[in-house]
Structures are given as structure tokens and as C-alpha cells.
Point group: D2
Chain length 284, copies 4
Amino acid sequence: QNRARLVISCPDKPGIVAAVTSFLYEQDANIVESSQYSTDPEGGTFFLRIEFDCPNIAERKQEIENGFTSIAQSFQMNWRLHLHNDIKRIAIFVSKEEHCLLELLWEWQAGELLADIALVISNHEHMRNSVESLGIPYYCIPVTKENKSEAEQKQLSLLKEYQVDTIVLARYMQILSPNFVAEFPSRIINIHHSFLPAFVGARPYERAYERGVKLIGATSHYVTDDLDEGPIIEQDVARVDHRHHPEDLKRIGRIIEKTVLSRALKWHLEDRVIIYGNKTIVFH
Amino acid sequence: QNRARLVISCPDKPGIVAAVTSFLYEQDANIVESSQYSTDPEGGTFFLRIEFDCPNIAERKQEIENGFTSIAQSFQMNWRLHLHNDIKRIAIFVSKEEHCLLELLWEWQAGELLADIALVISNHEHMRNSVESLGIPYYCIPVTKENKSEAEQKQLSLLKEYQVDTIVLARYMQILSPNFVAEFPSRIINIHHSFLPAFVGARPYERAYERGVKLIGATSHYVTDDLDEGPIIEQDVARVDHRHHPEDLKRIGRIIEKTVLSRALKWHLEDRVIIYGNKTIVFH
Amino acid sequence: QNRARLVISCPDKPGIVAAVTSFLYEQDANIVESSQYSTDPEGGTFFLRIEFDCPNIAERKQEIENGFTSIAQSFQMNWRLHLHNDIKRIAIFVSKEEHCLLELLWEWQAGELLADIALVISNHEHMRNSVESLGIPYYCIPVTKENKSEAEQKQLSLLKEYQVDTIVLARYMQILSPNFVAEFPSRIINIHHSFLPAFVGARPYERAYERGVKLIGATSHYVTDDLDEGPIIEQDVARVDHRHHPEDLKRIGRIIEKTVLSRALKWHLEDRVIIYGNKTIVFH
Amino acid sequence: QNRARLVISCPDKPGIVAAVTSFLYEQDANIVESSQYSTDPEGGTFFLRIEFDCPNIAERKQEIENGFTSIAQSFQMNWRLHLHNDIKRIAIFVSKEEHCLLELLWEWQAGELLADIALVISNHEHMRNSVESLGIPYYCIPVTKENKSEAEQKQLSLLKEYQVDTIVLARYMQILSPNFVAEFPSRIINIHHSFLPAFVGARPYERAYERGVKLIGATSHYVTDDLDEGPIIEQDVARVDHRHHPEDLKRIGRIIEKTVLSRALKWHLEDRVIIYGNKTIVFH
């Protein structure tokens, strides 16, 4: 395929779209999708994502990037050019709850996940067969208070070895250290089993039950050093009532969790998510 | 109409439904709707709401209540018998935002609100015409830090004079004192402009904007002394995205607020809401 | 477990609930859930579903049924008593699309499907491994215009051999003959890939695309001789827009299809669905 | 305000966005929102909507239009330039059901409807006071089989007199003649009280009740000569169950109807809806 996408952010001022699209036209590119957003047309930040087809894009990538540099500099752009065929390599981390992992595996098999699943890392053994039967490496690295630092080193070394771009925490119940997070800035996606910022922290379904809420939710967000406080990518909810015990909330919640995580991950994989401060811009 | 409803709570044990329905059968009552819930069939609390038709129920109410007393005592029941024609008298409190009040007035005109709107109380003047033109008394009682206690006395005196059963806080932005709340236990319904327990307190839409949530919500709950902590009756949400500024969230939120408040109030008016601890059982 | 459920329909008149619950009380039963509906309290049809716990229900089932007969006769009841432990045996029929089958298999593994999956029947081979690896028999019976009658005979013979109670058409793309349907009245559940009655028949996603609808849906219904006209159990929808081609609608639709079918099947398995005319009463 | 929007459709080929945005840049315009869609990047139709700020746009409109003509011709564009301050003048047609009209009036009062309500036309008298009290002219034109043609002539003459741009059928229960529709091509918006294409024609709620659907809906569409077959702008649904009679469906449906109509109208008023064949592209 000859498809690529250009993702740009820069101070907003007149002429950005004209300059970018004129450049692409000169490269024989045909724009197939374009999304933009400005935090403030007067002095704010401008975000642009353009998907385009361009003959021989793979061969010409370096040349196009070189040509774009002067435009990028004149507008003080942060920018990235991604080829559609450069599939991101992801690692999925999982603990005991398997529904999110299974959903991602199923979508991957169905060809709906634009990613290479490089490996699965768990602190438990029980999903080994399901994962390895698909030809995906599975590593069990138990984590305790004592060995946490060592365990993270093992994980990091595997992530390096497998050239992982993005980490998906598919109900992985260990808190990552700041050192670990710093190695994958804006590239770790978590699913939290509540409608954040309600029920930050542990046992959200039990606390939702205690509070007597009428809707429960799930939140997918980028991981930062502040637990459950990173930029939110996607959220959704489901209706519950007085008859539901915590076990029912968990059962209902699983469907929301896997759906929300899957949507967030897909948008990330297509570079549709841009982090701005502690928030996200999602071009979908 | 000959319709009535019986609302019961008591320790759960075998035989409750049999005793109640046999009694109603002996009174020539025909059950048209019945809902029940037990927190635990083994030693929990049992809740029952039965709607029934019974000839000459208005004349026979006292007699039926007397007859039911011995059953009620033997099962240690809390119970109430309501005639369908005994419409609840409500007071609507409102501040500057008018959408919730307007929704309730419109539904009342359309015959969809099973209530007498006894009066409207506001700390502002601007809704006087809309309310009075419908023949509903309107009282403007400004509230300041200094006169708060005095203002509440005026409100309580009006509520007494108008024989008000239930108070609806339709975006009334003053916090009621514990003394005031104690006069209407479990009979003050508020609409909070967030998906509680997220964004308890002031300026929820601004804080939702800051946090970058992808859904905003509204919550209708009974008022207790703990601000925004009372039993939740109903909640709902709407989707938002990065393009929405706080003003947009408020605009989108207004539709959720009025819808959620209207649903919660209707269930309350039909005695479908039972408070249990700090939670509600809603038989809808 | 000592749990059972009693499902009743009969002409509505006073005293039904009193008679049934008094009888259950005499059997030492404790009611844990009860739902009722009357098409018209004056001369309509009354439906009742009661879940109860009763000591030694398995041993006493016959005795309780005998005892109930006189009540049942006096009210002209249609009724069934089901033990919770009498799990229904189901057959899943599938063609090429596998998502609905996979969802049911996953829920079954997670212990969330109150059914024994007796066998899977397909007109294709490709799901054999996934099914057999779970220890479930898989039969591939190709169907053509010429062999249809013979193929149905094979299917019926397998269904008999495996003592199947309920058939689930999980995107099975062959139309069943009236003879076949007559063998499983009100016990064949289909998932149709549109929001019925819109797009009855073939290629609903293509036709939804042509019409330019802004929501697509799925419908689970009992199969009757009239194609796509049987009693609807459950429906749901998802939002789409002008950017979605038929392939996108199919992808989005798969999530709705599997969710709707799963919900409908679960309600059926717990005897929460009662057919009345060409409609369903669902006690959930 | 200096805001305007440019809406374009033309055969897709490379260079369109570059040409348009370069032209706008030369006019000192700052793009604040841009949406585009191509039915097929290879030889399909391309749609573009750009909102921009431009100093003295009101004075310079003619000059800018002249300047754009050569670009427009070279790409064979259909195009329109709208000033944000050129508010569309609308006529609301209503029959007996008043909820949609009331919603639009309320949003108009709240400043949320970017339109001048030029007049209201009804075949009944009962809404006169509500409308006239807001200073909006109200015309009652009864319609019968006999006087239909004459009545439409009166309507058309009023629409001309009041310089109406768009007609909103807010539950107007008369079918407009092809002659009438031809006078306002793609400028008559209807709300149909069903989830089209289900229940085309009369009495949709009664038919939804008969069919036993589990969701009901509403559809806003442009009016064409084929009844209920025009391009769909927006749809939504609400959940119902076996307890709801046709009157309940109507009550629940009213909320969907007014919400869907309001959304569709707002998008139309901001030129976010483009008709393509019998479908719409909605840039929201």
C-alpha cells in the first residue's frame, strides 16, 4: 500500500493547512482523510492529522521527510510521518482477568487490530496455552514487593528484545514504577475498571456498589506516574440497578472494559490520539 | 379511580407475599403490578411494592389499613398505603438556570407529572412570569450568607402553608442547612450536574473539562447533610470530545440534567423509590 | 442447589398471586424473585415467574407438581416448574461468520452461560478445531438446494441423539423448513443482522448502506415459518455515519449481533422469556 | 463577527485542499474548523466544509466570491459561501402534537438555535397563544382533501412573503404535494416518528407495538416526493418493553422526536449537512 499519515502540532496561525497540503500536492499525494483542531484560533495550539496516498511512499519516505523539514521549521511543528504498513509492535500485560486479552487476541486474529502482538507478559501462568497456541511468545514474570525492581528489569529487557512500541495493560494489576513508565512515555495504555475520576484506585466495583451508582463504567488512559490520572482516551458506561451485587457489576463491567480498551488501542495504533497537557485529542 | 399502592419493607422470611396477597384478595383487590427485592433471602431485608385496584378504595382506606395492622405487626413491617388519587404536593426550588424547571412545568402541563406543583421558590426574580402565567404561586427569597437562616425560615413557613410533601431542587444553587433538611427527610430531590461520585461539589463541568473526560453526566439524589452524598435515584451520561469547551459541556449537560431529574421525580411521585441505607431501590 | 422457578400464564382474575404464594409457603419455599405482567387486569392474560428456594427440591419436584395441579386447574393455568440445576441442552448452528459462536463459547467457558452446549452443527468445516478443542462435538453438514431435506433429517437425528432442548442460530445462513421449525416450536433462537422490521431478508447491511441510516442494529427472535417475523426477544443498535462502507457496517454490526444474541439466549435459558401471540414478555 | 463557511463538492482529484486553503490564506482567513469526505479517492466525489475567520468578511464577501470563481471552475465545484451572521429564516409547520414546536421555541429563546423563526403555520389554532406571545407570527390554515391545493398556495405565498429559507415539519401531519416540495428542494426537514425504514407511513407506534419491538425510534430527514424516503439526517432510539402500550410508546417517543429533530435542524442551519444521492454527509 501507498498510504501514510502525517501528524502535526504547532502554534496556530494562518497558512498551516495551505502550506502542508500544497507540499503534499507537489509530492503527488492524494489526501484521503484530514482532521484538525485548534485550542484557540488566536494563539492556541493547532493539531492536524492527514492520511494520504502517495506513489512509492515506502521508497520516498526519507526524501519527503527531508522536503518537509523547512515547512516544519517555519511553523515550529512537532510532526511525525507514519507509513500505514509500519505496523506498531505491542506487548500485552495481563494478570488473572483474561477477558481483555482474549478480546484483543480475537480481534487480532480477525485482522481488525493494526498491530503485531510481539509478546504477552503476565505475572501468572494460566493464559500460556491460549497465547502460545497462536504463535505469540508468553512470558510469566511473577511480581512481589521484594522482586518488583528486578521483575521490571526483566520486562524492560524483553520489551527491548522484541522491539516493542506500545504496551497495553489488559487488566494488569501491578503498579508500574516511575522508572518503567519513563521508558515508554505516552506509549502505555491502561484500562481502569471505573468511570474515572470516580473510584480512582483499588476495588472500584465494590465501591460503586457501596455508593449505589446507577451506571458503572470503564476508562482507557495513558499511564503516567500519577495512578489513574493519565490522559483519558475513551470511556463508556452500562446501566446497573439495586439488584446487582459486586460480582454482577464485575461481570457487566467486563464487557465495557474490553470494548473501551479495544477502541482506545485501535485509535492509538492509527495515530489518531494526540496528547495535549493531561488530555487527549482523538481524531476518529 | 380505585387504584392504590402498598409499599412494604420488613425482615425477609417465608410467607410475606402469601400473607399480603391473600389479605388483598380478601379485600376484593386486583393486583395490577408487583415488584419485590430482598437484600438476602436468608435474613436480609425484603421490599415489596404492590399496585392494585379495589372498589371504593377511597372510602375503605381506613378500614383496610386497620385490617392490615395485624399482618404488618407479625412481620415487623414498615408500610404505607397510598391512594393513586392522593397526588403529592411539590415545591420546586430554582436559581438562575431554568431548564429543569421548564421541563417539569412542561411535563406538568402535558399531564405527565403525577403531582400538584404547589409553589415555586427562587432566589431570583426572572422566572416569575413563566410560573405565574400557569397559575402557580412564585416566591422570590434572596439568600445571602447573612440572611440564610431567616430565608430558610421563610421557605419552611411557605412549605407548611402550602402543605408541601416533596421538594425538588431544580438547579437550586444554595446549600440547605441540616435543620432544613431534617424537616423533609428523604423528601428533597436534587439534580447534581455531574456523574457522581465524580466531581462532587462546585463547578463540575469546568472540572470535567480540565480532566478531559469523554462522557459527562448528571445525578439525581435525595438530599442529606453530606453534600452530594445522598442516595442516588438516577444517573445518565452523554458523550463529549476534545472540541467541547466548558460552555458546550453545560449546554449538553442541560439535556441530561432535566431528563434525569424528571425520571427520578416521577419514580418518587409513584412511590417507586425506597431508600435503604445510603442507596435506593427503584421499582420501575 | 435448592432453587427452582415456576412460570405461569392464565386468564387474569383476583387471587392468583395469593393462591400461588400461599401454596409455595406451605411447601417451605422462600421466594427470591418474582415478576408478573397482565395484558389487562380486566379479562386479560396474566403471566407470573417466581424463583424460589425450597429444601430438597430435586427429590420433591414430583410431589410439588402434583400438589400444584388443583390450583393450576382452578385458574386454567399453563405452567412449568423448572429446577435451577436442570440445565438446558443447546445446539449451536453456525455458517461462515464465527463471532457469535465464539462469544457463546467464551461465555460458556467463563461459566456465564447456564447451558450445556451439546453440539455445534455447521455447513462448513472451518470452526471444527476451535469447537472440538473444548470437548464439544462438531458436525459439518453441507446444505445445498438438492440435499436440503436430507441435511435437515441428519440435523434432526443429531438433535434427538444429543437430547437438545434449544437451538441457537449463531449466524446460520440457511433457512429452516417449516417441518424442521415444527419440531422445535418456540425453541429456536436466531440473530438477524438488522434492526427488524427494517431490512427483513438478505443483505441487510448493504441495504442499510444504500438507505443511508444513521444507526444499525441487530435483532434476536424466535424462529417461526415467516422469515424474520418471529417474536422479538432483544434488539440493540450502534451509531454509524456517512464514512462507513458496508464492510464497516458489518464490522460494527458483529459486536451488536453477538451481544444481542447472548442476552436473548441467557434470558431464554433462565425461562425469563414468555411468548404471547407474536410478541415476547421478558422478565429481566 | 467575521466568521464564514465555505461548502464545496466536486470530483475528487489531488490538489483541491491545497488550492482552497492557499486561496483562503491569501485572503487573510484563519481556518477554525475543516471537515472533508471523499466517496472514493480514485474518481469519487469530494466534499469539503471549511469554517474560517476573515477580517471584514461582510464587506468583502462579493470580492472573495469573485476571486474564488476561477478555482471553483478549474475543479468543477459546486460551492456556497455563507456568512455566519446570515441567519437562516425558517418556518415551522405543526399540527396537534406540540412537543417538537415547544422544544424548538425553547432552544430559540435560549439562543441555541441559529435561526430566525419567521412564522409558524398550523392546520390548528391551539398553539397560537404560545407562539404569538413570543412575537412570532402564527397562521392557521386548515387543510382538507378539498382545499389542499388552495391551502398550499396560501402557505407558499406566506413563505415567500416572509422570505423563508427552510421549512421544519415539527409533527405536521399533512402530506405535501410534489409541487410544494419542488419549491423547497432539500430545504424541508421532517421528523418521522419511527426508526426508518421500519414503519414507513401512518401509525408507526401502533405498528411498533403490534410487532413487539424492543426499541422505538425517530428519524429526521429531508422531504422528497417519496413519502418517508428522503435523505436521513439523524436518528435515535429508546428502549421499551412488553409493559408499554401504544400510548406509552408515544410518550417515550416524543422525547426522541424532539431531540432528533433539534439536532438535525441545527446541523442543517450550520450547513453541516450535504445531500449526496439519497443520503446525507453530516460534518459534526
